[in-house]
C-alpha cells in the first residue's frame, strides 16, 4: 500500500479508493445566496406603483365608458379633452431632456412626420370604421360583451410590461391588442358613431400613447413615479365613488394591498431564501 497521499478530486489516476469517495473537503465549494438582493421596503413600495398605475388606467377607462353610456359625458367633450391632453403630452415629451443627452438622441429616431402619420392613422381609421363598430355587436347580448371586455382587460393587466428585465409571460403586443379589443367591444355598445370614435381614440391614448409618455417621464424624473401613482389612484378612486361605492372600496383595498402589503410580505420572506450554488451548476456565459 502506497503512502497515503492527499486525495484529489480526479478520476484519471488510481487513488486506490472508490470512485465515489470524497474526503473531508466535501461541499467546500458550496456557496449560498450568492446573488440575492436585499430589498428595502420603501423601494419595493415605490416600484410596485407600476402595477397600480396600470390598474388605475383600466379603471379610468371603464369609468369613462360608463359615463358616456349614462350620457353624463358627451362624445365631443371627451374628444376635445383627449386631443388637448395628447398635444400637451406630446410637447412635454418632445422637450429636450435635461439629464442625459444620449437618451434624447436615441429616442429621436421618430421624426415629427412619423408621429403625424401615426396620428392620422389612428384618427382616420377610427373615424372611418366607427359606423361599422357601432352596429357590430347589436345582436349579441350585453352580458357577453361585458364578459369579453373583462377577460380582455384582465389579459391586458396580466401581459403588460411592468419593467422587469426578462419575464417570460410579458407580451407587449398582446396586452395592447387585448385592451383595444376590449375598447371595441365597449364602443359597440354605444349609440352613435361619434361615441364609438371617441371611445376608441381614448383607448388608444390611454393604452398606447400614455405608457410611452410615462416611461419617458420616469427616466427623466425618477421622483415623479410615486406622485403619479398617488395621483392616478386618487383620481380613479374618486371617479369610482361616483359610480358605485363597493367598487371604489374594492379598488382602494386592492391598491393598498398591492402597494403596501405585498412589499412587506416580500421583504419578510427574504431571510428564508436559500439558494445553493456550486461547481455543479450549468455554466453561464457572461460576455
Amino acid at each position: 500500500m502506497a503512502a497515503p497521499r492527499r486525495w484529489k478530486k480526479i478520476l484519471y489516476e488510481d487513488q486506490s479508493v472508490d470512485d465515489n469517495y470524497v474526503d473531508s473537503s466535501f461541499l467546500d465549494e458550496l456557496k449560498k445566496n450568492l446573488c440575492t438582493r436585499k430589498y428595502d421596503y420603501w423601494t419595493v413600495v415605490r416600484a410596485s406603483g407600476v402595477v397600480t398605475q396600470q390598474i388605475s388606467s383600466v379603471c379610468i377607462f371603464v369609468i369613462v365608458f360608463i359615463y358616456m353610456d349614462n350620457k353624463i359625458l358627451s362624445a365631443e367633450n371627451l374628444c376635445i379633452s383627449v386631443l388637448t391632453m395628447t398635444v400637451l403630452g406630446y410637447i412635454i415629451n418632445k422637450l429636450p431632456v435635461r439629464k442625459s443627452l444620449s437618451f434624447s438622441e436615441k429616442s429621436s429616431s421618430r421624426t415629427i412626420l412619423d408621429d403625424l402619420k401615426t396620428l392620422l392613422i389612428f384618427t382616420g381609421f377610427s373615424y372611418g370604421l366607427s359606423p361599422v363598430l357601432v352596429s357590430l355587436t347589436e345582436t349579441i347580448s350585453t352580458d357577453t360583451i361585458y364578459a369579453m371586455t373583462t377577460i380582455m382587460l384582465l389579459a391586458n393587466l396580466l401581459f403588460h410590461d411592468y419593467g422587469a428585465t426578462e419575464a417570460a409571460i410579458v407580451s407587449q403586443s398582446l396586452s395592447l391588442n387585448a385592451a383595444l379589443f376590449a375598447s371595441v367591444c365597449l364602443a359597440s355598445r354605444l349609440h352613435t358613431p361619434w361615441h364609438a370614435f371617441a371611445t376608441v381614440t381614448f383607448a388608444v391614448q390611454i393604452f398606447a400613447v400614455w405608457p410611452v409618455f410615462k416611461r419617458n417621464l420616469m427616466q427623466s424624473i425618477p421622483a415623479s413615479q410615486p406622485v403619479l401613482t398617488v395621483l392616478l389612484g386618487m383620481f380613479a378612486f374618486l371617479a369610482l365613488l361616483t359610480v358605485s361605492i363597493p367598487a371604489a372600496i374594492l379598488f382602494g383595498l386592492v391598491h393598498l394591498f398591492i402597494n403596501f402589503v405585498c412589499p412587506a410580505w416580500l421583504t419578510s420572506l427574504q431571510p428564508y431564501k436559500n439558494n445553493i450554488y456550486g461547481p455543479w451548476d450549468e455554466a453561464t456565459i457572461n460576455d
Binding site: I121, T139, I140, S173, N177, L180, F181
Partner: protein
C-alpha cells in the same frame, strides 16, 4: 437438365399427366422437366423413340414409360431419372418416380388439355409456343432457334409427315404443352388485379402434402401454386400465383409476366368509353371477347337511345317537357328568394349582423332577378333544344344522358354562382382572421421557414390589426351561415348529377357479352382450376393423385 440432384430437394415433384394418355397404348413418355419448380410435364408419347427431331429438341427429353394396364415392368433406365405410369387392377392410376434408382415422392396431376385450350383466358398471343421455349431456355439465342425448330416441327412437318407416325394422341399431347401455361399465366394476371384469387374447396381427407411453388422477385422466379390443405374439412384453397416482372420464367408451369403484355382483366376492359378495340397485342380469345363486349354494349346503348328518341319525338312531348322544366326552374328561383329573405331576418334564431346580412341578401336577390330574365329567354328555345338533342339517341342513350346532365347544369348555374361567391368570401375572411389572430398574439408567419415566429409590431400596425380582427370576428357568423346554406344547395345539385353519372357509367361499362357467356356457363370463360383428389393407387400409395379441371369465375369478378 442433365444432372438433377434429387437428394437436396425438399419439395415434392409434380408430374402432369394428360388424361388422354390413360387411354392410349403403352408408350414412352417425353416431356419437360424443370428442376427449379420441381415440375415434370409429360407432353408427348411416341411408339418409338427413334425420331431425330424429337432428340433435336433438347428440352423435350425422355421421361419414362407409360405401361397401360400391364403390371409394372421395370423399363430400361439409361438415365438416372425415370417415371413409370400405369393403371393397376382397379383401374386407378399409379405413378412412380425413380431417380438414381431410388424412389422419390411425387404428386401426380391429371388434366384434360382440351378444356384448357378452349377457354379464352388461357390462350395467348400467337407466339405462345415461342413463349414456352423462351421460358425454358436461359438465353435469348436459344429461343429463336429452338422456337423455329419446334414451330416448324410442330406445325410444319409434323402435321403432314409425322402425323402418320405419331398418332392423334401425340399431337394432342404436344399441343397440351402450352396449355399448362395458361392457368398460371392467367392467374398471374388476375393476381395483379385481384390479390385473392378464386378459392375452391378441396376435399382432402387426409393429406398433408403441399404443392408449393415459390416465387421471388429476382431472376429465378417461380410462380407459386399454393394449395393448402387441412385434415378433415373442406377448406378454401386460394391459388396464389405471384410472378416476377422479368422475362425469365423458366418452367412450363410458371407464369411469365412482362410489362408488354397487358393481360389485365381478361374478361373486362376496364377503360373509358374510348377503349382501344383494335388492341392487337392481346391474345386472340380475349381480344375477341373484348370486341364482342364493346359491340354489344354499343348496340344496347343505341337501341335504348333510339327508343327514347322515338318516345320524345311523339307529338309535342318535347314541349311539355320543356314547359315542365321551365316551371321547375322558376319554382326553384322562387324558393331561393324565400330562402334569402329568411336569411336576411333571423334564421333559426341565430343573430346575424343585420347590416351585413341585408347587404348580402340584396346582392343575391339581384342575382336571382337577373337569372329570371335569363330563364325567360331560354323558355322559347328549350323545347326545340330537347327535340334536337334527342336525335343524338342514335349514338346511344349515354349520349342523351350526358346531354341531359349538361342541360341540368345550365339550369342550376345560379346556384353554382352563389356557392362560389359565398365560398370565396368566407375563405377570404377566414384567411384574414387567422393572419390577424397571429398579429393579436404578437406573432407572424415566417414564409421561409414555414413556421410562426414572434414579431415586433409598430403601434399603429397593432391598432389597425386589432380593429380589423374584431370586425372580422364579429362578422364571421353571418358569412359562415351564407356559406353553409349555399354549399348545401350546391351539394344537392351535385348529388343529382352524380346519380346521372353513375347511370351513364353503368351503361358504359357492363360487360354484356361476358355476362351472357357466364350465364350459359360457356367453356370460353373457364378461368380457374380445381383440384380433386383421386383415390390412391394400390401399388404406389405414397403419392398423392390429383385431377385438375377447369372452373368458372364468379360473376362478381367479371365486373
Amino acid at each position: 437438365m442433365d444432372s438433377m440432384s434429387v437428394e437436396d430437394s425438399t419439395e415434392l415433384w409434380k408430374v402432369f399427366v394428360p388424361q388422354c394418355l390413360l387411354n392410349s397404348q403403352p408408350a414412352d413418355l417425353l416431356g419437360l422437366i424443370h428442376t427449379k419448380t420441381h415440375c415434370i410435364c409429360i407432353t408427348a408419347s411416341s411408339f418409338s423413340i427413334q425420331s431425330d427431331a424429337l432428340k433435336a429438341a433438347q428440352t423435350i427429353q425422355y421421361l419414362g414409360k407409360w405401361h397401360g394396364h400391364l403390371k409394372k415392368l421395370r423399363g430400361s433406365t439409361n438415365k438416372n431419372f425415370c417415371i413409370d405410369v400405369w393403371l393397376d387392377k382397379f383401374g386407378l392410376i399409379n405413378c412412380q418416380l425413380l431417380a438414381d434408382s431410388k424412389f422419390v415422392p411425387c404428386t401426380c396431376i391429371t388434366y384434360e388439355p382440351g378444356e384448357f385450350l378452349k377457354s379464352c383466358c388461357f390462350t395467348n398471343q400467337k407466339g405462345h409456343l415461342r413463349t414456352l421455349i423462351r421460358s425454358l431456355a436461359d438465353t435469348e439465342q436459344k429461343v429463336d432457334t429452338m422456337g423455329k425448330e419446334l414451330d416448324f416441327w410442330m406445325y410444319g412437318q409434323v402435321s403432314e409427315e409425322k402425323q402418320r407416325m405419331m398418332g392423334r394422341v401425340w399431337m394432342t399431347l404436344l399441343h397440351s404443352l402450352m396449355y399448362l401455361y395458361w392457368p398460371f399465366r392467367y392467374f398471374l394476371a388476375l393476381e395483379r388485379n385481384f390479390p385473392n384469387l378464386l378459392g375452391k374447396a378441396m376435399h382432402v381427407p387426409s393429406v398433408t402434402s403441399q404443392l408449393l411453388v415459390r416465387s421471388s422477385q429476382n431472376e429465378q422466379v417461380t410462380s407459386p401454386l399454393l394449395v393448402r390443405s387441412s385434415q378433415n374439412e373442406q377448406v378454401t384453397s386460394p391459388l396464389l400465383v405471384r410472378s416476377s416482372q422479368n422475362e425469365q420464367v423458366t418452367s412450363p408451369l410458371l407464369v411469365r409476366s412482362s410489362q408488354n403484355e397487358q393481360v389485365t382483366s381478361p374478361l373486362l376492359v376496364r377503360s373509358s368509353q374510348n377503349e382501344n378495340v383494335g388492341y392487337t397485342a392481346g391474345n386472340t380469345g380475349l381480344h375477341k371477347m373484348r370486341c364482342m363486349n364493346v359491340y354489344l354494349r354499343q348496340a344496347i346503348d343505341t337501341v335504348l337511345g333510339i327508343l327514347l328518341m322515338l318516345y320524345l319525338m311523339q307529338g309535342d312531348r318535347c314541349d311539355t317537357l320543356a314547359m315542365a322544366l321551365h316551371s321547375w326552374a322558376e319554382h326553384v328561383a322562387g324558393e331561393l328568394k324565400v330562402l334569402l329573405n329568411w336569411l336576411m331576418g333571423a334564421p333559426a334564431g341565430l343573430k346575424l349582423n343585420s347590416q351585413l346580412t341585408h347587404f348580402m341578401g340584396h346582392f343575391f336577390l339581384y342575382h336571382i332577378y337577373l337569372w329570371k330574365g335569363y330563364l325567360y329567354l331560354l323558355k322559347s328555345i328549350l323545347g326545340q333544344l330537347i327535340w334536337y338533342s334527342s336525335i343524338t339517341g342514335i349514338l346511344g342513350m349515354s349520349i342523351q344522358l350526358a346531354l341531359f346532365q349538361d342541360i341540368l347544369s345550365t339550369l342550376t348555374i345560379h346556384i353554382y354562382c352563389f356557392y362560389v361567391y359565398a365560398a370565396r368570401l368566407y375563405r377570404l375572411q377566414v384567411y384574414a382572421l387567422s393572419s390577424l389572430w397571429r398579429l393579436f398574439r404578437g406573432k407572424k408567419w415566417n414564409v421561409l421557414r414555414q413556421r410562426i415566429d414572434s414579431a415586433v409590431y409598430d403601434v399603429d400596425q397593432l391598432f389597425l390589426g386589432t380593429l380589423m380582427f374584431t370586425i372580422l370576428l364579429f362578422l364571421l357568423p353571418t358569412t359562415a351561415l351564407y356559406y353553409v346554406v349555399f354549399t348545401l344547395l350546391r351539394l344537392v345539385v351535385l348529388i343529382l348529377q352524380g346519380l346521372l353519372n353513375k347511370l351513364r357509367a353503368v351503361l358504359n361499362m357492363i360487360p354484356v357479352w361476358s355476362i351472357c357467356l357466364w350465364c350459359t356457363k360457356s367453356s370460353l370463360l373457364a378461368s380457374g382450376a380445381v383440384f380433386h383428389v383421386l383415390p390412391k393407387g394400390m401399388d404406389s400409395p405414397e403419392t398423392l393423385y390429383l385431377s385438375m379441371q377447369v372452373s368458372f369465375y364468379h360473376i362478381g369478378s367479371l365486373i
